[in-house]
Subunit: 345 residues, 2 copies
DNA sequence: CTGAAAGCGCTTACAG
DNA sequence: CTGAAAGCGCTTACAG
């Protein structure tokens, strides 16, 4: 297995010579072609193992026109959100020879241009786009070059043939709100992410439907928007507490925002869940470690990355993909941050 | 600029034909060779821009033996820690044509083998290794193949010529402890990460030195180890509180562990910093958003990734690298989680 | 300053 | 079942 390898990379020609066959024969063995005699195949395989031979990627790529690489495109890796999805991508790729190349854009024009180059230079077989916009330059370029892609959590509408993966945001919003209703809450705030995110809109629709089903009028003063970061949520939560008739529960746009919500409540001496119930969205690794442990709607980010990647691999291989739009379930994870209203008062 | 491009990738031959020159001339223009007439250069450049031509990576790579890619190797991307470093890597690469390929191992044997293949297949010019071990298979393979690498936060000793980047952990530990001493604390616990991490050992040495300087004997009961995750810290903090003479302050191994510390204190009705002062390590984006905002030692992870990458690029280019070991400063970030002992009692 | 020629390491028809 | 030949798109001496 671990024979001492030479410092110079081996070539197929060397393997062929050592095995006493021609180069095409070695190639056929490597590419699992049927037309090789069993004895020959075995001999070649033995030599390759002995020498630790690995096919040169550049040469193969030049010949086949496939790079064996896909791009992971996201504005910023600076969020648990994107990292979780990326882990799912890696997971799905583990059993293949395909690699992920990172293409964060960070909003820099320069990087966008670099990325467009990348698409043209033949080193990308396909792309996973996180939070892509219909008008995104990325999408347009991919389409023009006929490079397959899958979008995770699309921002806005995609084309009818574009593949996408997301979570059941509407249903998640409904589940969260219904749960709070079931505990007896009647004034439930929604402290969402950005107003223009489809996620936000869908979750809010779920929230509204649940309230309507319960015959509770919707109070616009209880609907707030943040930016998925704690500071914005801290601000909005503080503002909600200043209302003449403050809510007794909040459905929050993501777990990260819950940090800001907790902070605002802490500073107002309002215990969770005694004085305020909180439901998050995502179920991040740290969410169970907050004090109190956060009740939240689980968003299967890793699974979303995995599913998107599997779809992309099929697309690249030219295999049929049955589902154009995949939505993954968003179950409620009950922990300690919810209770009945004024339970402790 | 944005002429409609053909769907078929262009070749250098097409550009040469369109510009009325030979292929080598186009190549020389692209590679900024001096021996091209100004007029010719201009004409070729105009045609390239007009057509939107981009050099094929595989062909160039096959010819030059360089892939224009580096590997980012880490056990798991599932930590803010690794993601921050990765952002730094991307940052340093933004002005180059080099790309990052992800190579998380997740402890899977299979992935390690895949990665060894990758090194052999010519698609890696160099590697950034996070938390690499001297005995790591990665390091050994890189050395054997003469592929340059830089280690961020080495686990254990490296070879004398191996480049590495880290933070001034010893000094950070000293700073944290001195700060707590300056507030009047005398019983200061250290709730560190894994005992065998060099980071932990260095920070602990800083802690010990600071206590010694202050003439305070070291109490082994106050030194605890975790795994950088909140749950372990929760456990150890709970245990510290059960001591006959509990500490009045804790120096914690990383900010994430502070979540567990906060949780334990919350459950024991011990306000921070009233009943317990807490200093973290890292200064993560969320640390300022905790309640109370966390006082911590800043570890410049992004900068570490950036510096490591710049060193690697020099190594790859065959340029001299002056510093073999780089240590970046770890300043104290004062926020709300520290106070004088029994201030509020 | 310019271009004809060789060759990087593979894969793919194709002839035997 | 096996292998000689062509060629993927570049870069690099080298001759003119």
């Amino acid at each position: 297995m671990s024979e001492p390898l030479p410092h110079q990379p081996l070539t197929m020609a060397q393997i062929a010579a050592a095995a006493g066959v021609s180069i095409p024969t070695v190639s056929k063995v490597i590419n699992q072609r049927a037309d090789v005699a069993p004895a020959t195949r075995e001999r070649v395989e033995r030599v390759m193992t002995e020498y630790g031979y690995v096919v040169n990627r550049a040469a193969r790529s030049l010949r086949t026109g496939q790079s064996g690489q896909i791009d992971f495109v996201v504005q910023s890796l600076h969020s648990d959100y994107a990292c979780e999805i990326l882990r799912g991508v890696e997971d799905a790729l583990a059993s293949t020879e395909v690699r992920v190349v990172l293409a964060s854009t960070h909003d820099y024009q320069q990087r966008e241009r670099q990325w467009v180059q990348r698409l043209a230079d033949g080193s990308t077989d396909g792309a996973i786009l996180v939070l892509a916009d219909k008008q995104s330059i990325h999408l347009q370029e991919l389409r023009r070059r006929n490079i397959p892609f899958v979008v995770v959590d699309a921002l806005g509408e995609l084309g009818p043939d574009d593949l996408s993966v997301s979570a059941t945001n509407l249903s998640g919003g409904k589940t969260a709100t219904r749960y709070l209703l079931s505990l007896g809450h009647r004034r439930i705030a929604a402290l969402m992410g950005p107003a223009d995110h489809p996620c936000t809109q869908d979750r809010l629709t779920g929230y509204r439907l649940a309230l309507q089903d319960a015959g509770i009028p919707i109070d616009p003063a209880l609907i707030r928007y943040g930016d998925f970061h704690p500071a914005s949520a801290y601000r909005e939560m503080t503002s909600l507490l200043a209302l003449p008739e403050p809510p007794t529960a909040v459905f929050v746009g993501n777990d990260q925002q819950c940090l800001g919500v907790y902070k605002a409540l802490h500073e107002h001496g309002m215990p969770v869940p005694g004085a305020m119930s909180v439901v998050g969205f995502d179920d991040m690794p740290y969410s169970s470690q907050l004090a109190p442990a956060l009740t939240t709607i689980r968003q299967p980010l890793l699974e979303m990355g995995r599913v998107a990647t599997k779809m992309l691999l099929r697309l690249i291989a030219g295999e049929p993909v049955d589902t154009v739009r995949v939505e993954l379930a968003t179950p409620l994870i009950k922990r300690e941050s919810c209770g009945s209203p004024r339970e402790n008062c």
